[in-house]
């Protein structure tokens, strides 16, 4: 028996209360780490863009289109290596309407632009010789050979239980109707923040079946030969179309992603606020528990002091007791968040990522909760006048 053992014995005094307090801290830290993970994932999604790419969109808003006729003019700008058309599709799986995943239509130049970000890990065999776009992965021959083919992220394949070669149907919301597509390739993200939850398909399929030859496109993605010239090229592009009916806003793909995230409005702020509120609420719960636990043991502190326990020893014991509860709950809650929520699908954001730094922050917060909640009762216990404390026995 030593002082630490005595602290643990005291923790076991009221097992239900200790367990409930520990669980409340656990849930709070689980929530804190989860919310912080969402914020980190939002931030991470901004980094998914590369410096070698620019995104050209309508200057009015992201949802306004641009003419397809801009493509050759963009390709002609010095320093632009490649231009791809892309369009948000916004469909859903009719068998799982709430299971959101992103779908983009892209032209033949689209996939090669992302060669550094994705790798084809599974692909169907091509029916015969196929003319591939410049720089395209030869394994995508079957995809390029078939207008209704699509490429799916590995995690999305697993989540949906789809198989290579399977024909799936997507229900269009922006472009109504059923859209059968055959999975001809599966990609994996080379960088985690790129995500593996997206479906990519041919722009011609969308244009012919859904856009009725409107000649419009959602955005252009420019691959740059020299990233150092990104600023100049962006200015050139926007100047080129300044006085047209479809003025452009050209920005780095990171800035574009940040703009996309900003559409969440103040949600990140609210998430942060919620995290702080949860932690503060639990601080009060822990403090209340510690005060109650100490009040019940006033006479025992009197006895310990009579036996020669110093004020500092009593103070430390109470503080350690509080810290063990909150630290225990904090560690379990933070790790549970890390291992239970990591990789959870967040729609068109990358999968939820909870960093070890978040876990460490959570554990430090748990320690601080322990220290703060234990401070007042520890001080009170240490300052007890022995004869007053012993009188409580009677």
């Amino acid at each position: 028996m030593n002082l630490l053992a005595l602290v643990f014995v005291n923790l076991g005094r009221n097992k239900i209360r200790t367990a409930l307090t520990l669980m409340s801290v656990m849930v709070a830290l689980f929530l804190f780490c989860a919310l912080r993970g969402v914020l980190d994932t939002l931030q991470e999604s901004i980094k998914a863009g590369a410096e070698t790419r620019l995104v050209v969109r309508n200057a009015v808003s992201l949802v306004q289109p641009l003419p397809q006729s801009y493509k050759p003019r963009l390709e002609a700008i010095p320093g632009v290596a490649r231009v791809a058309k892309s369009n948000w599709f916004g469909g859903q799986d009719p068998n799982d309407a709430k299971g959101f995943f992103a779908q983009f239509a892209g032209d033949d130049d689209y996939i090669p632009i992302y060669n550094d970000d994705v790798e084809i890990v599974e692909a169907s065999a091509a029916p015969g010789p196929v003319a591939l776009p410049r720089g395209a992965d030869p394994r995508l021959a079957a995809y390029y050979a078939e207008q209704t083919a699509c490429i799916v992220g590995r995690e999305l394949m697993t989540r949906k239980g789809w198989k290579l070669g399977q024909t799936i149907t997507i229900s269009g919301t922006i472009y109504p109707g059923d859209w059968p597509m055959t999975i001809r390739a599966v990609y994996r993200a080379k960088q985690k923040n790129f995500g593996e939850q997206t479906l990519l398909f041919h722009y011609t399929y969308l244009e012919q079946k859904g856009m009725g030859g409107s000649g419009l496109v959602g955005i252009y993605i420019l691959q740059l030969a020299d990233p150092q010239r990104a600023g100049d090229i962006a200015k050139t592009v926007d100047a080129m179309f300044l006085n047209s009916s479809f003025a452009t806003l050209t920005e780095s793909s990171q800035a574009f992603q940040a703009g996309f995230v900003s559409m969440y409005g103040n949600v990140p702020f609210l998430i942060g606020l919620l995290g702080i509120a949860v932690v503060f609420a639990i601080l009060l719960v822990a403090a209340n528990t510690m005060v109650m636990a100490m009040r019940e043991r006033v006479s025992e502190f009197g006895v310990l002091k009579t036996l020669g326990f110093e004020d500092g020893t009593i103070f430390t014991m109470v503080l350690v007791e509080a810290a063990i509860i909150t630290l225990g709950g904090g560690i379990v809650g933070a790790l549970a968040a890390k291992y239970m929520l990591a990789g959870v699908n967040l729609g068109f954001l990358p999968p939820l990522t909870i960093y070890w730094s978040t876990i460490a922050t959570g554990i430090v917060i748990a320690l601080v909760i322990g220290a703060v909640s234990g401070l007042v009762p520890a001080w009170q216990a240490s300052r007890l006048v022995i004869v007053d404390a012993l009188r409580r026995v009677d």
Partner: protein, 223 residues
């Protein structure tokens, strides 16, 4: 040798704005190895005197010297350390920690001393053996009778081998038979282990065990 020397001690409690004198210029000397019974009506200052001798309360004025140590100059930490080495305290209601076994309760004072866990356990068991509870070391207080609980409390009081035992109505909550056993135990500790004992009691039967009985009334010694 004088073990406890109380000189002209006054103790006044404050209740709101009122001053309540409990001890009024009390002086008493207790020799080493003595067994003194403190008797007197409720409110006469018996427990207050015991608390002052034990260093768990401080006098308003006057001097106390116990086991050669003047208590007045000692600060809080030094007093706590001195108490752990010099004083064994026995309460009327035993005041055992309910979640600790008899052995663990007895180990408590030894936690303040640097020693191995095994040595601590051995000494606790030895103390429990002295009070006749060698077979109850793993029992919790709720599993013991009142007399046994008080014997555990006595084992706790003697485990660090203090020179002075202070007992505040140690038989006050016990039946006659158990009370007699506790008194016999205290007498034996005084006789065989040379402990100086100061015992507060209301019970004249208990006081008969003491070598001498001191009566207090309204904060002063009476005849």
């Amino acid at each position: 040798m004088v073990m406890v020397d109380v000189r002209n001690v006054r103790k006044v409690y404050r209740r709101d704005t009122q001053e309540v004198p409990v001890l009024d210029g009390l002086s008493i000397a207790i020799d080493e190895g003595d067994f003194v019974g403190l008797m007197g009506p409720s409110g006469s200052g018996k427990t207050t005197l015991l608390n002052l001798i034990g260093g768990i309360d401080r006098p308003t004025s006057g001097e106390l010297t116990v086991a050669g140590q003047a208590l007045g100059p000692l600060g809080g930490r030094a007093l706590a350390k001195w108490r752990s080495r010099t004083i064994g305290y026995i309460f009327q209601l035993y005041n055992l920690i309910p979640v600790l076994t008899a052995e663990q309760n007895v180990e408590l004072p030894l936690m303040l001393v640097r020693m191995s866990g095994k040595e601590r356990r051995d000494r606790a068991r030895h103390a429990l053996g002295i009070v006749g509870l060698a077979d109850r070391v793993k029992h919790f207080p709720r599993q013991l009778s009142g007399g046994q609980e008080q014997r555990v409390a006595i084992a706790r009081a003697i485990v660090s081998d203090p020179r002075v035992l202070l007992a505040d109505e140690p038989t006050g909550d016990l039946d006659r038979k158990s009370g007699d056993e506790i008194l016999e135990l205290l007498a034996r500790l005084n006789r065989e282990h040379q402990k100086t004992i100061v015992m507060v009691t209301h019970d004249s039967h208990a006081a008969e065990r003491a070598h001498r009985v001191v009566h207090l009334d309204k904060g002063v010694l009476s005849a």
